[in-house]
């Protein structure tokens, strides 16, 4: 299972890449594989504020709808609209296709997340 170094990871299998105080959020390959064929993504609204652990979107596979949580608090400044027409990008290339970009409210929340090594171990224990 592919895991990329330098990203932050949550227990809910989201990845976060921080660039200039902006956090790109997506789902990991582990999550994409567990979900199966992804057929629909409900993106958050731009400008919406979220607290850590709130549901920011929904990812639907053929079989089920799964909530997507944000492991960090902040304001959505951009969403990946490509996923509206091509939700399957999350299966084919989960690390290249973020779901939303969030302006970080509290950088210290990142410290609670896992690094790539910790996340790899976390997945192996699953």
């Amino acid at each position: 299972m592919k895991v990329i170094e330098g990203l932050y990871y949550s227990k809910e299998h989201e990845w976060i890449k921080v660039v200039d105080g902006k956090a790109y959020i997506g789902i990991t390959e582990f999550a994409a594989h567990a979900l199966g064929d992804i057929v629909f993504v409900e993106l958050p609204e731009v400008d919406a504020d979220f607290n850590k652990d709130e549901v920011i979107g929904v990812i639907e596979s053929v079989k089920a709808a799964s909530d997507m949580f944000t492991p960090i608090s902040g304001t959505v400044i951009e969403v990946n609209e490509n996923l509206e027409d091509e939700p399957q990008l999350l299966n084919s290339n989960p690390f290249e296709n973020h779901i939303a970009v969030i302006e970080l409210k509290d950088e210290s929340e990142l410290e609670e997340l896992m690094n790539s090594e910790e996340y790899t171990r976390f997945c192996e224990e699953k």
Binding site: G36, D37, V39, F40, E42, V58, E60, S61, V62, K63, A64, A65, E84, K126
Partner: protein
């Protein structure tokens, strides 16, 4: 995490084969079954365009035999059993006195004195107890043989061509909803031209030890894909076929479920009086097809609302199916909102999505009649 619980689940004779094929195993009604192998979408398309192989060994087989078998089975189900020819199969339902559904099932007629009833895996114990409770003084034997039989379904446009390679019996001689006791690979089987996908195909029953041999041979044909429970459900739904626990249950009658075609009110069966009365008085709710008019997906349990956002029903099954742009669904709705083209809302995560009532025939079935 799942170890303890899963170890108490039942396994079909084909469990090891599913693991070998990297099937994603889940708990399904107390059975460890594969939900998918290559992916639901790919498997769905494989059955529509080529051939899919399903493990349905978890289904229940109950034999009814004896001189009063015909009259007993007739009392049990909504079909007209007296019209069945030898070797014919019928899709039917068992009802409670109050007209609601114990289970939907297939009845195989071997003779006036021997029938096979094939019931849903999750309902085997309940159904068997119901059958015993209705036996009264009938001179019959009711045998639950579920643990002895394995069953596979071979479904898709190339099903006959492939199965023919394994039997000397001319499969053209098994018409739609008929069966034969024949040898497949030299193994004694019951082979019926039935299935639950909307495609031509066969259901094959054999001793549980022998079903593994048949599975292994069929799966080795390049044309055949193994199909899990995920695509099994999308296929039956697209074919407009109901599923116990979704469209039908102990809380709904066959008439409300839109299955009146399978209810022969000129015969006598348990629950008939209630159904006759329900028909006379008119239905209060009905199962309809739904098409969502914008992007989104209807799911089982989502509320259906009128244009004033008042709840008037519920989605029983819904998907975004492979190769379709819009989500379609079955919904049980108030009869006043069951007209074709009627506009409705589906409440998805507290937002209202525009939808309309459609035919439940989402596709043309390709049965070989």
């Amino acid at each position: 995490m799942r170890g303890n619980k899963m170890s108490q689940l039942k396994r079909t004779p084909l469990y090891e084969e599913h693991v070998k094929l990297s099937g994603k195993i889940v708990d399904f009604a107390g059975w460890e079954m594969p939900i998918e192998y290559s992916g639901i979408k790919q498997e769905h398309i494989a059955v529509r365009t080529n051939v899919g192989l399903f493990d349905v060994s978890h289904m229940g087989e109950v034999f009814i035999s004896g001189v009063e078998a015909e009259s007993y089975v007739q009392r049990l189900v909504t079909a007209d059993i007296t019209k069945l020819k030898q070797n014919q199969v019928v899709y039917t339902m068992m009802c409670y006195e109050k007209g609601t559904i114990v289970d939907d099932l297939l009845v195989y007629k071997f003779s006036n004195e021997k029938y096979l009833l094939v019931v849903n895996a999750s309902n085997i114990d309940k159904d068997f107890a119901w059958m015993l409770s209705q036996k009264k003084n009938d001179n019959i034997l009711i045998e639950n043989m579920s643990a002895s039989y394995g069953q596979v379904a071979l479904q898709g446009p190339n099903a006959q061509k492939l199965l023919q390679k394994l039997t000397e019996f001319n499969l053209d001689d098994i018409k739609f909803f008929y069966f034969e006791e024949i040898q497949v690979q030299g193994i004694d089987c019951i082979v019926s031209r039935t299935g639950y996908t909307g495609e031509d195909g066969f259901e094959i029953y054999a001793d549980k030890a022998d079903i593994v041999t048949i599975w292994k041979t069929l799966i080795n044909f390049e044309e055949v894909s193994p199909i899990g429970l995920g695509a099994r459900d999308t296929l039956r739904f697209e074919a407009g076929l109901p599923l116990y626990g979704n469209e039908i249950s102990q809380d709904i009658t066959p008439l409300e479920a839109g299955l009146g075609f399978f209810v022969k009110l000129d015969t006598d069966f348990i629950g008939k009086d209630t159904l006759v009365k329900q028909k006379e008085e008119g239905l209060k709710r009905k199962l309809v097809g739904i098409q969502l008019l914008k992007k989104g997906i209807c799911r089982h349990g989502y509320p259906v609302c009128d244009l004033n956002e008042k709840e008037i029903g519920v989605i029983t099954t819904g998907y975004l199916l492979p190769e379709r742009d819009y989500s379609i669904a079955f919904a049980l709705v108030d009869i006043n909102h069951a007209n074709l083209e009627e506009k409705l809302f589906i409440k998805i995560r507290n937002k209202f999505y525009e939808a309309k009532v459609t035919s439940k025939k989402f596709m043309n079935k390709k049965y070989k009649k």
